[in-house]
Amino acid sequence: MATFTRRALLGSAAVVAFGAVAYGGSRFGCAFVPRNHPDFFSLLDIAPDAPIARRIGERALELGSLPNDLPGFASALTERPLIRQALAEDCPTVRRTLVQDQCALDFAAQRTVIVDGWVLSETEASLCAARMLRPQQA
């Protein structure tokens, strides 16, 4: 049966301590590095939690032409310039306007889908669909 030697114990503690320091330091350092880490879930709140939006979300998922998981939606949506801007924006009104403007751009560029008869921009249909996939909050 293996026994822990003192040396092994100290070595392990050093590794853990080093790891903790490295991690803490990295976290601290990285806080100053600008990155594109969208707060995707909060963006989904822009899709209203109304029955009609939920129905559109369900139908949009059934269409099969949109992604079928959250990472898929996240990467598809973050390709849209105004959505990227919206994700970096704290003010809810500006965020909403940016999303609406992105929808308008989608329409103008014929990036539309018909969901339950509604002629929608891909962005709004995706937001409604993604909202349906968001894990339930406790």
Binding site: F107, A108, Q110, T112, W118, V119, L120
Partner: protein
């Protein structure tokens, strides 16, 4: 002069330069124009001065195709023709409607919109319309609100004008009665077209009352102006000398029947604060009553292989006070009488109008009540609209009028009307609504929910009562019954007037074009006869 073939013994023959059969908008405007140019006109009307059941019964037929249509109630067989029924929406056909299109088989007239423009301008007056201006830009400065801010390269605001509606019997009765060059006969039903033996020239027409009093009309030129269904029926019934019917050598008479698909479907929800004031109500401005719709830019219509369409917004109010569902014949008769009395005159055909009101008293009372309440109730502006349209169909040779065995009281075979509505027609309309929805979305002003499913149901479509195409115009006799002058290809002095000559239906209501074509025909005959 107006005479009645029913009163007294019939003359042995009636003679004129031009014989016109039918006194609807086509026949009357043609007769008046020809008279102005000094031609002697014989104008024949099968019906009487007012509605008569036995005359109207001649229009009965079978409906064998799409069933939201009828053959008798959608036309009037009396002096003034169906203008006694029409509701008066007017617009010219678009340049696009006249063009040949590779993507739409059988599309394209042998004339252009520019050819018709001077005649459209003259037709406005017959129909009591404003100036011949149908571009939004012509009216924009005078309008009380702004148009929807849509990309005009995709969807633009389209202008229609509303006729009072002009009842030709009322407006032109006295002019015809007092015109020494117009010899008008009532109860004079065309029953036969007689070709000079072995030739391609009409020598005479036989006319008869329902009681059998008969006479013959001689003229240099003959024009049949009996409406979109009857024009074909008359040619198909003229089989004594041409076994398939006159003008039907290429089996084209009666084919290409087209109508406007009257459809109210799809919902537009505008964002709060969007100004839609121009669209749901008619607007009186600059001597015209305008109705504004939304139309797809012709370049996009071509690129997406659509049919033409003008979409009108019908407000969906929560309160029924703003509903206009009381506007039927009773209401129209009531408002006509009211307007005429307020000018200090007794309305023409007072008894008819009065009885229309009595028949629809409930609707009239509702209309009066709602108008009164609207004056005091706070105004309600709708943000939800349905889209109503008279949508175009692609030309279809299988959509047609044919003869059936059953005969009418004059011995004419009655007709079967096989109006076809194809999925393609409806899917094109669906796509049209999609384009409108995208334009509204791009403008950030709302969203549209399409009401036509991917597997469309023709039940949504009703006849616009615009019977067109059955003696279509084409330069090639194998593709059309009449030439660019409306002359039957195979007969030297026989012309057709009316919407039966339309090669395509477009989405404009037909009567303005019917009248413009009649005036154009008058100018043509004035130099040839």
């Amino acid at each position: 002069m107006i005479s009645d073939l029913r009163s007294g013994p019939p003359p042995r023959e009636i003679v004129g330069d031009v014989c016109i059969v039918g006194t609807g908008p086509a026949g009357i405007s043609l007769a008046l124009e020809l008279s102005k140019k000094g031609r002697r006109v014989v104008l024949l009307e099968g019906g009487g001065p007012v509605y008569e059941q036995d005359s109207q019964d001649l229009y009965r037929g079978q409906v064998t195709g799409h069933h939201h249509i009828d053959t008798a109630n959608s036309r009037l067989r009396q002096f003034g023709g169906t203008s006694g029924h029409w509701t008066g929406m007017c617009a010219p056909l678009d340049p696009l409607d006249f063009e040949p299109r590779n993507d739409v088989p059988h599309h394209g007239w042998p004339i252009t919109r520019a050819d018709l423009d001077p005649f459209y301008a003259r037709a406005q007056n017959y129909l009591d319309l404003g100036p011949f201006k149908y571009d939004f830009a012509d009216w924009a400065a005078k309008l009380p609100a702004k148009p929807l801010p849509l990309d005009p390269g995709k969807v633009f605001t389209d202008v229609y004008q509303q006729s009072p509606p002009t009842r030709f019997a009322e407006k032109f009765h006295d002019a015809i009665r007092d015109d020494a060059r117009i010899d008008c006969w009532l109860h004079a039903n065309l029953t036969d077209i007689v070709l000079r033996d072995g030739s391609d020239v009409v020598e005479s027409m036989t006319v008869s009352t329902l009681e059998g009093a008969q006479t013959m009309v001689r003229a240099k030129t003959f024009v049949i102006a009996c409406g979109g269904i009857e024009n074909a029926r008359i040619l198909l019934n003229s089989r004594k000398q041409r076994s398939a019917g006159i003008g039907n050598e290429n089996d084209l008479v009666g084919r290409y029947y087209t109508d406007h698909m009257t459809i109210e479907t799809s919902t537009v929800m505008f964002n709060e604060g969007v100004d839609t004031a121009l669209y749901p109500e008619e607007i009186q401005v600059g001597g015209a009553l305008l109705a504004l719709g939304l139309k797809i830019h012709p370049d996009l219509v071509r690129r997406l292989h659509l049919n033409n369409n003008s979409a009108f917004l019908v407000a969906q109010h929560d309160s029924e006070i703003y509903d206009d569902d009381f506007r039927n014949y009773g209401w129209i008769a009531f408002s006509t009488m009211l307007k005429t009395f307020s000018r200090g005159h007794v309305p023409d055909r007072f008894a008819e109008h009065y009885c229309d009101v009595v028949d629809d008293l409930g609707a009239v009372a509702t209309g009066v009540y709602r108008h009164a309440v609207r004056k005091v109730a706070p105004s309600s502006r709708a943000s939800v609209f349905k889209i109503r349209q008279d949508a175009e169909q692609s030309p279809n040779p299988d959509s047609r009028v044919t003869l059936i065995e059953e005969k009418d009281a004059l011995g004419f075979n009655r007709i079967a009307l096989n109006w076809r509505i194809t999925s393609d027609d409806l899917l094109k309309l669906r796509r049209t609504h999609e384009v409108i929805g995208a334009a509204i979305g791009a403008a950030g002003i709302g969203r549209l929910q399409i009401g036509i499913p991917e597997t469309p149901d023709p039940e949504v479509a009703y006849s616009g009562y615009h019977h067109m195409g059955t003696t279509r115009m084409h330069a090639d006799p194998r593709q059309g019954v009449v030439d660019a002058d409306c002359r039957v290809h195979s007969v030297r002095n026989l012309y057709m007037a009316g919407s039966s000559t339309f090669t395509t239906g477009g989405c404009a209501n037909p009567t303005l074009t019917v009248t413009a074509l009649a005036i154009r025909l008058a100018d043509h005959l004035a130099v040839t006869v």
